[in-house]
Symmetry: C2
Subunit: 418 residues, 2 copies
Amino acid sequence: VRRADQRAVRTSNLSLVARRIAETRAPSRAQLAKLTGLNKTTVSSLVAELIERGIVTESGLADTRGAGRPAQTLELDDSRIAALGLEINVDYVAVCVCDLRGAVRFRATVGHDNRRSSPAVAFELLANLAGDALAECDALGLTPIGAGISVPGTVEAETGMLIHAPNLGWNEVPVAQHLRDALGNPPFPIHVANDANLAALGELESGALRGVDDGLLLYGNIGIGGAVIVAGAIFRGSGGFAGEIGHVPVRPFDGERCRCGGRGCLETIAGQEAIARRVGIPGTRSVSGSPATIVAERARSGDADVLRALDEVAESLGVAIAGAVSLVDPRRVVLAGALGTLAPWLLAGARDAVSQRTRVAPTAVEIVSSELGDESAIRGGAALVLHEVLSDPTCAEARVQRSEQSAVKRAGLVVAPG
Amino acid sequence: VRRADQRAVRTSNLSLVARRIAETRAPSRAQLAKLTGLNKTTVSSLVAELIERGIVTESGLADTRGAGRPAQTLELDDSRIAALGLEINVDYVAVCVCDLRGAVRFRATVGHDNRRSSPAVAFELLANLAGDALAECDALGLTPIGAGISVPGTVEAETGMLIHAPNLGWNEVPVAQHLRDALGNPPFPIHVANDANLAALGELESGALRGVDDGLLLYGNIGIGGAVIVAGAIFRGSGGFAGEIGHVPVRPFDGERCRCGGRGCLETIAGQEAIARRVGIPGTRSVSGSPATIVAERARSGDADVLRALDEVAESLGVAIAGAVSLVDPRRVVLAGALGTLAPWLLAGARDAVSQRTRVAPTAVEIVSSELGDESAIRGGAALVLHEVLSDPTCAEARVQRSEQSAVKRAGLVVAPG
């Protein structure tokens, strides 16, 4: 066996052990040996390396119920490394810091209508937020090892290029490069991905899609994006465009023209801007919050016009979901983003419409709200980075070293905490 | 290595070599060694066994262009074993015999409205056709090694039970058992599957979906079924109900009530019965042929009412396909069954509607007609059996032996050829 192969096997075993620790509730080394099929000596050596690399930590004593020396339990280490989740959307930018267990340690959002300014302004805002996040990492003693940015459009993942964001009016924007420049070339990789896909990843990782093999997510924003889940992963389709449930026609003959060329697409009825227009409030985020937040407040206060509008939106949602159920038969459908905010007034109507319209198949689809509120996409951005660490636990160390070397450079940019 | 494991490895290698021969144009043993990564001695031994089992045959001499002894080329043997494809649909029953290369050697269809009689009558008709097919196998010197039956409804594959066929009004019909009884307990397995799924399998195997990773098939019949293709295989969804594009809503608010509980489903507009009603002809097969055949004849003769009706059907098809394109982003969409028969008058309109309504994604979806005409589902039924032989080339022999033993029994049922 060549040395390169030995190293690859070692890395793959490190990843296996780290994943089992992530999935299992505080296993001991002996339990890990059973879970991985590796022998105890190998497991002990792998765990020692993971501890040294800041991926794993000893968390306490296992309950042995009887004889024998109590064994140490293991967990992912939440005190050493962190991932940044970032989001540029139509009317806000947002950021979060997640530790290796996926817990959110810092988050911030700034409302800004990114359609009315050049991308440069949005990146300046985002870089400021990211600076706050990096400062918070310093304060918490966490080393940032990567960032994932959510954008509302189609993306070329390899280059970090935003190809087309129709609701922003942006085309061919090198997002990763812009952010890299704005952050003074930070010593960690920057990934770019579609907002609905990252929201789905966030929900798969630690929200309403956890453990779901076949699912569907609707991500409400100014428009509506989505993701189809096949075999527990995001389904791309032949060209990477799968999941666009916002452009499923609901009123294809008498509906409003949609920017996609169609008529009566779900987005023209249940997109945040469409709902706002219908109830007579501004279609973009204001000092009072996002349109969905304002609509939710009015609904909560019993505004009859708003409640009637939401009933109609719910039925249209149900029509589009019924079509998707017939086509891809998901186990669970999740309303996220602005649709998650409005879910309390949408779920019952959507469920009714779906059950009335899909009686042919004894389908048992569940329609539920996001469990991550407006954090789905940024948490998905951070999850992209954390996945990478669990796939190759050796990648973090190099980044930690580079990060320490460049701490001086970065200090110039960082806004001091508190 | 235990003997059972050795046998499993041998079977898996037999399957590998048989599949490579099926996929490649007349390879030599040397080429097979390259294609499989097995050494030449092993390949020669495996090929010898496949020849003996009637799976493979030497077909000629390779063009060696120069020095060296010309090598024998290999192909699947089309002279020894055969599979039966059977179909019970709403208004006809059909059968075909395919050889191991998938070529149709015999086929027959009988029109009969299966909604107006008990399942027993349909099985009698089907058993008669199957008897003709078995007699034809005898005449051709082919040994039948399995049958796949297509039914228009949901199926429990393990038991061969038709759970629910809404357009037939049949529930819980033990199809495999009925046919087994009607054929006097034949010495080969009988598989049961959904018609649209088998049509998709037929098209994947030797029609318009060959080589397609992400696809969609619409199977027109009295109603409309369908199949979503993911990674080159039929996608089942969480409960096995994926692909039902006939119940995607096209006129969800002002359309006709559908038997699924919905309103304005694609099936209520583009199903064969809906089209027939619209142009004023009988909704089920008559002596003049299927409704689609009659509509096609009228369209061919330039009947203006029929052409106008088909234009409207084409637009509705396009609306449903546009929604499916947004959701699952297929590379190719195939119109099969009755929709294949009518494709010459539907394709242009459907393509227009899709391209107008999906401008948001630079999708390159192709919308095409079935390449197998009304044979998609029965050929898919036969393909189920032939897949099984290529997965385990040792299974055929046992069946051939049992088949010979039971030839006497079967003779009672078989209609003498000619």
